[in-house]
């Protein structure tokens, strides 16, 4: 591999994603691994495989931006940026006119509002609670002895989604049991769970004009989430080609955009 590489590492609570861009911002490598217990190792493994796909090695990396909850644990990072900014940057690259970005992650859900010029105008993050996040779906699927994929497939066959109102994952689990007791079909209960996430998202979306895109791991694996969002928000929801990589992609783009002056100064965000 010749030429400089720009790397974005998104070390999330569930998965660690790495994206490698070349000097023309062409995607040349990417990889995802489970974050597990060792964030440092997860970052290294994801980077190693992404660089391998790019036919590069660590010495080729001109600049690296880390993001996600484990962003402080990425040793290679020159700069650390929040996943909010990175998801916004990634989504904007795929959809230049997008105004609203919904990132449903493992630990939290964010809604980011962009200005007409593409700048971050506002954002909101869910409160300290798992309801409305990927963890909520995983936890409930586990309770029903289903994989996330099975839950999604089941939900996509729903004709009359059940109502799951609770603000709390534990109480939502209780509500699911109530719905089972009432004899509601599993497919409708499954879709009810996705609808409850969409409802939480709708609470965070104050202004509803402009295009809406959804990013994050849940969107990557669950078509039912996109459907639920479209039904609840009553608008088309754009699903980018690599939704799970939006944060890492945005981080890599920010790496390419960091100018020489910024590189030579001590970043306020990164403390290496």
């Amino acid at each position: 591999m010749s030429g400089a590489l720009y790397v974005g590492v998104d070390l999330g609570s569930s998965a660690t994603k790495c994206v490698v861009l070349d000097e023309t911002t062409t995607l040349v490598g990417y990889h995802v691994v489970k974050s597990g217990f060792d964030y440092v190792e997860a970052g290294q493994v994801a980077l190693h495989h992404a660089l391998a796909k790019a036919e590069g090695e660590p010495a080729d990396v001109a600049y690296c931006v880390s993001t996600g909850y484990g962003r402080e644990r990425v040793a290679l990072a020159n700069r650390r940026v929040t996943e909010i900014t990175c998801h916004a940057r990634g989504a904007r690259e795929w959809y230049p006119a997008v105004r609203n970005i919904i990132d449903v992650g493992g630990q939290d859900t964010k809604v980011i509002r962009l200005s007409e010029g593409g700048r971050m105008a506002d954002y909101r993050m869910n409160a300290k609670c798992a309801a409305g996040t990927g963890t909520f779906l995983e936890s409930t699927a586990h309770k029903l002895d289903l994989s996330l994929q099975q839950l999604d497939e089941l939900a996509m066959t729903s004709t009359e989604p059940a109502v799951v109102n609770s603000y709390c994952t534990v109480f939502a689990g209780t509500e699911v049991i109530e719905r089972i007791k009432e004899g509601q079909p599993a497919r409708d209960i499954a879709m009810g769970l996705f609808r409850s996430i969409a409802t939480r998202v709708s609470e965070m979306l104050a202004v509803r004009d402009g295009a809406v895109a959804v990013t994050g791991g849940v969107a990557a694996h669950c078509r039912a989430l996109v459907r639920a969002l479209e039904e609840v928000l009553e608008t088309e929801v754009l699903l980018p080609p690599m939704p799970q990589y939006a944060g890492a992609f945005g981080a890599a783009l920010l790496a390419t955009e960091t100018n020489d002056a910024e590189r030579s100064s001590t970043s306020h965000v990164a403390h290496r």
Binding site: Y69, V81, D108, D122, Y123, R124, K128, H268, H271
Partner: protein, 414 residues
């Protein structure tokens, strides 16, 4: 400790503050043991001047609640209060203080070597800040058999009218009568004038201290303010508070002259709306320090910056100041105040703290944050947390939220 913390230039007066607090609490402890002296507990913006003028030593339980939070023990004590029927979502100052009493532990022991809060002869509250104090004082009244007396002024006021002030003056006069009757004492009106003048002077100096954050770089931050505000709460009505603020103000003015700021190379100026997050004050101070962002002004620290006393009826001054405070006003008045503060301190962004157990001192629950953003073109961030109970707080989420907010301000600046 962050990598950059070593660059922070400490406010030297803090040493004097430590000694002052020690003297204050040791004296209170002595007063509680001395049959010739009386101790009254009072709410933080309550009618303490009347109590001081009548010879009571005053103790402020909300300060104990804050101390329990700052010492990160509230979450261990709150379950004790919950177990006897106090809701876990009600004021965590109250529940942690009640829990502390039930457990027989207090941070005052470690800090000053005393058993805990001084036993009260009298408990006086004003519901000008919240109704919870009535129930909180009630707990201690039942426990100690001390008299519980209070005033319930009109709340959520728009314009504060002469009628409002006259009504509250009447409540305070009735309170005086009740205390006089109960303790066989007489309020010396000239002494009350003196105490109110001292209170007003301390408050005016406190306002000047807060105003040193208008300088660039700001001479002090919100996180300094929440420490140095102690005398204006605990010792107002005394010369000690005045002396302390004169010393502190001189030091801060010298910092301005020397170009020394609370945050070196300050990039952004933030307004903090709502209660401090006491268990996380240090972590938050370091986060903002690392982000080279100063929290330059706050509603909270400004709560004890009253209008000056003009030498008239001291009861009327107390009545007016007690209901004019931000927390006792309607949303329109609050928003107007915020707008003035944003201009006065040249604020770049506002953070609203949604304190889960303190709805009365949380102003993001009725759309104000969004109105501030839209009507004042002010970037806003709402943080979920609590004043004392860390169980309502997520460090990772909060720190990401703050970093993202600064990234948003950077984008605005480009």
């Amino acid at each position: 400790m962050s990598a950059t913390a070593a660059k922070r230039i400490k406010i030297k007066s803090q040493e004097r503050l430590g000694a002052l607090m020690r003297e204050h609490f040791l004296d209170l402890d002595e007063a509680a043991r001395d049959p010739q002296r009386r101790v009254a507990w009072c709410t933080s913006v309550g009618p303490c001047e009347i109590l001081t003028a009548m010879g009571f030593e005053t103790y402020f339980p909300e300060n104990h609640g804050a101390l329990l939070g700052a010492r990160r023990v509230s979450h261990e004590l709150i379950p004790r209060a919950v177990a006897i029927g106090y809701c876990a979502e009600s004021c965590s100052y109250m529940t942690s203080d009640i829990g502390s009493t039930l457990a027989g532990v207090s941070p005052l022991t470690e800090a000053f070597g005393i058993d805990g809060p001084p036993n009260p002869d009298l408990l006086v509250y004003s519901t000008n800040q919240c109704r919870e104090v009535q129930d909180w004082w009630g707990f201690h009244g039942r426990r100690t058999d001390a008299a519980v007396m209070g005033v319930c002024p009109p709340s959520h006021l728009g314009e504060v009218t002469r009628e409002h002030v006259a009504f509250v003056s009447g409540l305070l006069e009735r309170l005086v009568e009740k205390i006089e009757h109960r303790f066989g004492a007489t309020l010396d009106r000239d002494r009350l004038k003196e105490v109110v003048a001292l209170s007003s002077r301390a408050s005016a100096l406190w306002r000047q201290v807060l105003d040193t954050a208008r300088a660039r770089p700001a001479a002090l931050t919100f996180f300094d303010g929440v420490i140095h505000m102690a005398p204006v709460i605990l010792m107002r009505g005394s010369q000690k508070a005045i002396d302390y603020y004169e010393t502190l103000l001189a030091e801060l003015n010298q910092r301005i002259a020397d170009g020394v700021g609370g945050i070196p190379e300050e990039r952004f100026r933030i307004y903090w709306e709502g209660m401090p997050i006491w268990p996380k004050v240090r972590e938050l101070a370091e986060k903002f320090f690392d982000l080279r962002t100063v929290v330059a002004a706050s509603t909270y620290c400004n709560s004890w910056a009253f209008d000056e006393y003009d030498g008239g009826d001291p009861i009327e001054w107390m009545a007016r100041t007690s209901i004019e405070i931000f927390i006792n006003r309607d949303e329109v008045s609050k928003q107007k105040f915020l707008s003035e503060m944003f201009n006065r301190f040249e604020i770049d962004g506002a953070i609203f703290h949604n304190a889960r157990t303190c709805p009365n001192n949380t102003n993001s629950r009725f759309g104000m944050a969004q109105r501030v953003r839209d009507e004042m073109d002010m970037p806003v961030l709402v943080l979920d947390g609590d004043l004392s109970d860390v169980r309502f707080f997520s460090t990772a989420q909060t720190m990401t939220n703050i970093e993202a907010f600064i990234e948003q301000l950077e984008e605005c600046k480009r």
